[in-house]
Amino acid sequence: MSFREKSNLVILLSTLFTLGLHAAHALESGPRIAAFSTVLGATISFVVLAIIGHIMIAITGGRDADRSDERDLLVDRRTDRISEAALTAVVLGILAYGLAQDDVLLANIAFFGLFGATLVKALAKAVLYRMAA
């Protein structure tokens, strides 16, 4: 298994642990938990777990840690597309929730987030197409 594959497993396990912990806390305290401290705590625990995991795999066999190749890029591109679709679905959900609850600020943040990302993508594509033309 390559370093990047092991690294991905570390991220997967760290994410599952963090999400599980946060979900358990939310179930216990209700969805309106003290957002700042718990989200910050979850984020810090994720970063710490990921760092420890990466140190461990680097010590136990990080021979190719500094190497990534075209296959890694291809895998990255495909998985980015999947995560982009998931993120878009979540933001659309937030937009729908904001509109349903008449929460204009939330709805606008979701709206500008979606269209802002589309704008950035279109601009980047325009530049890249011209660079390769």
Binding site: S2, E5, R67, D69, E70, R71
Partner: protein
Amino acid sequence: MRKAKSRLRNRVRELRFHAGEMTQAELADKVGVTRQTIAAIEKNKYAPSLETAFLIAEAFGKPIGEVFSFAPAEEA
């Protein structure tokens, strides 16, 4: 929709054997890819870029056509 099977074939495994039983890791180091990518190419699970294909051929001192071939449609 199922992805069409690649028609690209290669003799990387055989050429490694004839090159003093060169390991996948040694070839990977020469080409600048990971050992897993060489393994995937050998199993026809991954079609390398043209540049990597040339680099593999160069590592064996062979023209690219002797390392990689394109199977006719009916064989794929």
